[in-house]
């Protein structure tokens, strides 16, 4: 068994992934418990969140590729197609078909489809499963803009915590008077806050309001 210092060093190494929400459930719980009992780990986590925020902003500042990249790619694809045609003919593929249907299904349909898929797997393996879980796995759901999109006003770049539910995000945005107008791009959403003439102090207030919800908002910054 490791010593206390070794255990702390091991947890410390995992903090960046804990901050990013990319640890497994058991490991994330272990790290969370250690942070609760160790103020130094909590301080390091705060530093890591700052690093992550600045890394996100730095990458956001890099912009996007010009149209040239797409033109070059699709010209190359067209040239290949012309010399060696690969006519699109959709073949039936069970895993892809299931994946696509599951992605488009309503929660109720999803539940039934998940059960059916589980049954197929069980039959393929020649196994008889007495009982199967009917609960769809909890997970992060991507938000999209509601119907009433504000067309003018200051915008923020927001990254939501992976553990935040759609309801959490909806409530936080409602409180802040914001709507998602774009994203996600690398996990970052563009959130518009209104009204259009909102002054700097008002923007700062909204940012602080969102920062006060670290369980929902992982980082927030004004969009340039």
């Amino acid at each position: 068994m490791t010593t206390k210092e070794d255990a702390r060093a091991e947890i410390s190494m995992l903090l960046p992934w804990y901050a990013a929400g990319t640890l497994g459930v058991a490991e994330a719980r272990r790290v969370a418990e250690a942070i609760e009992q160790d103020p130094e780990l909590a301080a390091r986590l705060a530093e890591i969140r700052e690093e992550a925020t600045e890394t996100l902003l730095l990458n956001e500042s890099l912009g996007a590729p010009s149209r040239r990249a797409a033109d070059k790619l699709f010209a190359a694809i067209d040239a290949e197609q012309a010399s060696n045609p690969r006519p699109y003919k959709r073949k039936f593929n069970l895993p892809s078909w299931l994946t696509e249907k599951l992605a488009r299904a309503s929660p109720r349909t999803l539940l039934l489809a998940a059960s059916a898929a589980t049954l197929i797997i069980a039959l393929q393996g020649g196994l008889l499963i007495g009982s199967i879980s009917r609960d769809p796995a909890p997970g992060y759901r991507t938000a999209s803009a509601p119907d009433s999109v504000i067309t003018t006003g200051p915008q923020l770049l927001v990254n939501f915590a992976p553990s935040a539910t759609v309801a959490d995000i909806e409530a936080a945005l409602k409180e802040a008077g914001g709507v998602i107008v774009d994203g996600p791009a690398a996990g970052i959403y563009r959130v518009q806050i209104g009204p259009a003439n909102l002054d700097q102090a008002g923007i700062e207030r909204v940012i602080q309001m969102l920062r006060d919800r670290p369980d929902i908002v992982r980082f927030v910054a004004p969009a340039s």
């Binding site: 190494m13 995992l14 960046p16 992934w17 901050a19 990013a20 929400g21 990319t22 390091r44 530093e47 890591i48 700052e50 690093e51 992550a52 925020t53 600045e54 890394t55 996100l56 902003l57 730095l58 990458n59 890099l62 996007a64 590729p65 010009s66 040239r68 990249a69 797409a70 070059k72 790619l73 699709f74 190359a76 694809i77 290949e80 197609q81 690969r86 006519p87 699109y88 003919k89 959709r90 593929n93 895993p95 892809s96 994946t99 696509e100 992605a103 488009r104 759901r141 991507t142 938000a143 999209s144 803009a145 509601p146 759609v166 995000i169 909806e170 998602i180 791009a185 690398a186 996990g187």
Partner: protein, 189 residues
């Protein structure tokens, strides 16, 4: 607000394998910015980065039938992008620069002294992030920006998972050293 109902990446890949150009367009639109930024941070040249992302997605068009789903599509894309970027850097070093010059292009950030004058911790942190070596920038970006797990980062870089953890540890340690030079002592390492 509604749950995302976009076509899953894996479905797009299977359609691309069958020659569906529209699926290719959807995948390109979905990932071009992320792949571009990842490559740009490595090669530090916008025109080269744009050329490389065209090559990355052309590889996807050609190799989609071989995608086995052992990793996520985004991890696969970043793996191809990394390979292309490093090959490009190697070619550039061979044709134009000696090793010393190649090292010199690592850092186009302000010197620590300039950073000191900025006084702003966030700005200083960004400058120090820019000043990291390519290896350290890469691991920081993969974990913080591309939100890759230990396993996924290991797959993209082609190193063991423990090395991923230690590499990020040393990248952060270097970041703290640069910050200290810039007058910001985080008390670690």
């Amino acid at each position: 607000m509604a749950a995302q109902t976009a076509t899953p990446d894996e479905v797009l890949i299977s359609r691309i394998a069958a020659g569906d150009r529209l699926a290719m367009q959807v995948l390109f639109v979905r990932y071009q910015v992320r792949v571009y930024r990842f490559v740009l941070r490595l090669v530090r040249n916008e025109a080269t980065a744009e050329d490389l992302i065209s090559e990355v997605f052309l590889d996807v068009w050609r190799q989609a039938g071989k995608f086995e789903g052992r990793s996520s599509v985004s991890t696969w894309l970043l793996s191809i992008a990394r390979f292309k970027a490093l090959s490009s850097l190697r070619k550039r070093a061979e044709s134009e620069l000696d090793d010393g010059a190649a090292e010199a292009i690592e850092d186009d950030a302000d010197t620590p002294e300039v950073v000191i004058q900025k006084k702003d911790k966030a700005a200083a942190l960004r400058e120090c992030l820019k000043a990291l070596s390519a290896e350290h920038r890469e691991i920081i970006d993969l974990v913080y920006y591309h939100e890759k797990s230990v396993e996924e980062a290991a797959m993209i870089i082609g190193i063991p998972e423990n090395t991923v953890k230690t590499r990020l540890f040393y990248a952060r340690k270097r970041l703290s050293e640069l910050l200290r030079t810039a007058g910001i002592d985080r008390g670690w390492p």
